[in-house]
Amino acid sequence: MITIDGRSVPAGGTVLDACRAAGSPVPTLCHDPRLSAGGHCRACLVQMDGEWVAACHTPARDGATVRTDTPELRAYRRDLGELMLAETAPAGMAREQIARWGAEGARYPRRPREAVRDHTHAHVRLDLDRCILCRRCVRACEEIQGRFALAVEGRGAASRLAWGGGAFADGACVACGACLTACPSEALTSHDTAPHFRDVRVTRTTCAECAVGCQVDVHVTDGPDERVAHVEGAALDAPNRGHLCARGRFAHHATSPAERLTQPLVRRNGALEPASWDEAIVAASEGLRAAKGAAAVASARATGEELYLLQKFARGVLGTNDVDTGSRASHAPSDVALREAFGHAAATTSFDDLEHADALVVTGADPDGAHPVLAARLRQAALAGAALIVIDPRRTPLAELADVHLALRPGANVPLLNSLACALIEEDLVDHAFLEAHAAGWETFAPFVRLHTPERWQDTTGVPAAQVRRAARLLGRAKRPWFAHGLGVTEHRQGTDAVRLIANLACLTGAVGRAGTGVLPLRLECNAQGALDAGCEPGRLPGGHAVSDAVARSHLAALWGRPLPEAAGRALEPCWRPHARASSARCS
């Protein structure tokens, strides 16, 4: 126990934790519960057993006595505030905090730093005349996004926040906005964090960009011109743990009336004209009646309910199983292969698991582009010491951090993954106990895979055998391997086989069904899994039942009060091909 201002609370954490538990307010500026303690601002000074200590990074010693509010401390805080106001002009929370200490900015002659301003970046504006050098932004960039775009340059009074020279927009910033959420002095702001957005209505929802599933709080202005003011990461237990990426945080600008449709349009005499909803629905139904046949294409960014209704409309109203999504083609290989291997067409693991993994294998994916918040978590895990193996023809940002980057020729996934399995078996780095208990086919698999040595395939894959063997050793010696793969696996001709091989690697290393291990297919859109579960595919009904399953069909027919078509649907290749190419070029 530790005594804070006369109240006893459990020791163990920091003095600051104990002070908060005891209900003693201790001011902080550089402290951010998401980040490591910095100890820079020294605002949280308290007296512990007669010594002056910074509460934020001092362990709460058992049996110690702490005082947080004495005349000396009040005088100290005020003087600290006066010193800050002599070198800088903070706004926001820092300004309010300093004012509460009684500092007025009159005690010391002002010796302000050079007032650097940089407004070159689309989303992050820097006004360093407000900076208090608390380094929360630096730590947020490093510890949340793993990006290292910010640092402090210079020394002593000449210290200043910096990004390596040149315009900030040309630096390493990826606009994730972690720094914006950390800055207490409004030295870092975006157009979204302007103060006039403060009084707003907040809605908790799921981000509709990529498949990570970030929880967001959408702040909406009240009143007649209701619109999205800003979006913040929410829920520390969500996949994003309160973090967001540039798209999640800033893409809401597309909701502004200037950038989207606000009413139905009907084409009359070759031109689109505004129409009422009734007119538009009548026009649409007339068109569908007149058509010889119709098919439905769903976006995997729609909600589960919308996707369910769309396939119900196709099957129950249009009378066709020709219903599809672009993501079906991108993910069918994972569905087939994972269903075969694990009996379940989905990930066997979660994002939280990767933090307990000690080897990360990322194949055919560029999460920094396609799943930025996952990329942030992967970078943190790698920086914390997990081995990182990237299998991708591209030098992705993640590959730059990798222990081994197997930069194979495009399309060579299958021989490469086989040779990786071969190297594991040759060096006996496989989990025999797991294979015996949970896997089938070892007797035929092992002799076959042994033929596919890294040396045999190195000319085909373009990856030197020694690199494959190095990756195999890192993977085989890991206690908790974790696998993720993206469209760079599934959109290849041998996509299904490649996913089978990834599942094989997971079995060989015993990386199934244990905490910190597993196989995770990286979907493209936020509801790719939901689109398939809802039945937006030509061969499967809601719940994954085959269209050929008469029992499932009659069950749905009874529910819907409509007969269901028996003929298998057609995949809409000509429709989705161009879409898939465009999105993979952009996203994966």
């Binding site: 020294r42 002056w52 100290y76 003087d79 640092a151 020394r155 009074a157 730059e400 989990d431 010696r477």
Partner: protein, 525 residues
């Protein structure tokens, strides 16, 4: 997975993300580049080149580059205490009259031969037997001074000198490798404990305790670091030892490595000591040739880049890693989590030089080597029993004040140490009797110096060397010289002392309070 090799367990993640990134980039490089980023910058590489060479983020490379002030040796006049009050302005004017544009350096460790300056990697200083004006007059037009490499005089007031046992030996006949016959690690630790060794830099922890903690902290790797970041004006014991007895320092490091189970050591020598760097490098090569280093334990020489605060342990370790030399919060202490997060023993070179003696003799070690400069007749390094009154050191080793002068005060332990007025020169030189004594280096000031001048000198030092990481120190030290009266200055000193993160800021106020206490209004005269 039949066999898991425990030796492949990665090192514990270093506590700082940037260090984690660096460790990762180092690990994945096929051939990690030798040295560190400081060495790259000293070799003239631009931040952009260091980004490529070390896989560093661009922002971090610029941040490191801009932290250090001695990456271009150039022409620099020493601003140390002895030089400041020993003719620095005359020297500066002379160099300027020769067309030079001297920059600043604190300090060249030639306090015994003040004033001093460096030109490139050569240090020039005034010989003891000549007045400043006469010395400067000796320079011909466009010709540089004659004196180079003035070695400090050395003497002992102790019956058995320990620190200076080799540098005092006539003719230096002692074999360079005599100290290297060492027992096993446990025996080393026991001997160190019997010798009651404590850090000679002034830190108070018993050396054997520190080493035991490093040995017993679970880790895949451990490091030994010798600290020759002797940045304090008025101290040059470490320079003398490195220049003339580097083998003893290396042998002490080896003893420590045995005791804690380390395979790698780093000898950090500050940028301002070019001669000590050369001598240390030669000694490491000698020892490798003899097979004493290089196998189970090797030592790498790391050159600083100009930052006083790198004498602080955690800042020193950051500098060795090639980062900004900023002290970090504690805990953890370096012996638990130091270089790259591994347990690391950091000792001053003087401590390491004593270690082989302590291991051999196992007797309590009760002396301290002290640098002596300023207003005495004989400057240099003196080894004296701990507890010797200051005045005895100044008279017996220093020969008293120069003719016609009177002592006014002494700055002891550097600009963050303590100021002792001449009336208190009976105070014993001991850490308990003289808080702030630190390494014990003494700069004596005579009655031509005003307390105001001393205060301004200390203000300027603090403002130039604060790292800027924490607010009270960064924002406070720039206000010191502007304080209007005693009350305002004392308020400021309280804030800097109470709030600062590391021992730099916490120590800045002590000598200034000494000045206020003993000289009062003269500080504001």
């Amino acid at each position: 997975m039949s066999e898991r090799l425990e030796s492949d367990v990665p090192r514990p993640a270093p506590p700082v993300p940037e260090a984690r990134l660096r460790e990762r980039m180092r690990r994945r490089a096929p051939e990690p580049p030798a040295g560190n980023a400081l060495a790259d910058f000293a070799a003239g590489l631009a931040p952009e080149d260091v980004v490529v060479r070390r896989g560093l983020p661009t922002a971090a490379a610029h941040a490191v580059r801009s932290f250090y002030h001695q990456l271009e040796p150039g022409l620099r006049v020493c601003d140390g205490t002895a030089c400041r009050f020993g003719g620095r302005e005359l020297l500066r004017a002379k160099l300027e009259s020769h067309g030079g544009e001297p920059m600043h350096v604190r300090c060249l460790g030639h306090c015994h031969a003040a004033p001093a300056f460096r030109q490139g990697n050569t240090v020039y200083a005034k010989p003891a037997d000549i007045e400043v004006g006469a010395w400067l007059d000796l320079w011909g037009e466009g010709v540089h001074p004659v004196a180079d490499l003035v070695p400090p005089a050395r003497t002992s007031l102790a019956a058995e000198p320990v620190v200076l046992r080799h540098v005092l030996a006539p003719q230096r006949t002692a074999p360079r490798f005599e100290d290297w016959e060492l027992p096993a690690g446990d025996a080393v630790l026991d001997a160190i404990e019997r010798a009651q060794l404590r850090g000679r830099g002034g830190a108070s922890m018993a050396t054997h305790e520190k080493w035991r903690i490093a040995r017993d902290t679970p880790a895949a790797e451990r490091f030994v670091v010798a600290n020759a970041g002797e940045g304090d004006p008025g101290s040059f014991v470490g320079r003398l030892l490195l220049e003339e007895d580097p083998h003893a320092v290396l042998a002490g490091m080896l003893a420590c490595a045995r005791a804690i189970g380390a395979r790698r050591g780093f000898l950090y020598v500050r940028a301002e000591y070019p001669l000590a760097q050369r001598s240390a490098r030669r000694a490491i090569e000698d020892a490798r040739e003899e097979g004493l280093l290089g196998g189970h334990f090797d030592v790498e020489l790391v050159i600083g880049a100009g930052a006083y605060v790198c004498g602080e342990e955690t800042a020193l370790l950051a500098a060795i890693e090639g980062r900004r030399g900023e002290p970090r919060r504690r805990p953890p202490e370096p012996m638990e989590s130091g270089l790259w997060g591994a347990p690391t023993v950091v000792q001053n070179v003087e401590t390491f030089a004593v270690v082989p003696w302590a291991v051999r003799h196992g007797r309590p070690h009760g002396t301290k080597a002290v640098s002596l400069s300023g207003a005495v007749q004989r400057t240099g390094v003196v080894e004296t029993p701990v507890g010797t009154p200051i005045e005895r050191v100044l008279r017996e080793a220093g020969g008293g004040p120069p003719p016609g002068r009177e002592w006014k005060m002494a700055v002891i332990g550097g600009p963050l140490g303590t100021v002792v007025p001449a009336s208190r020169f009976d105070t014993p030189l001991a850490w308990d009797a003289l808080p702030g004594m630190g390494h014990g280096g003494i700069v004596v000031l005579d009655d031509t110096v005003s307390a105001r001048d001393v205060a301004m000198h200390l203000f300027a030092f603090a403002a130039a060397e604060s790292c800027g990481s924490c607010t009270p120190c960064r924002a406070g030290v720039t206000q010191l010289a502007l304080a209007r009266d005693r009350a305002a200055l004392e308020r400021l000193l309280d804030t800097i002392h109470m709030g600062s993160l590391c021992s730099f800021g916490r120590s800045v106020p002590r000598p200034l309070r000494d000045l206020l206490r003993h000289f009062g209004d003269e500080v504001f005269a």
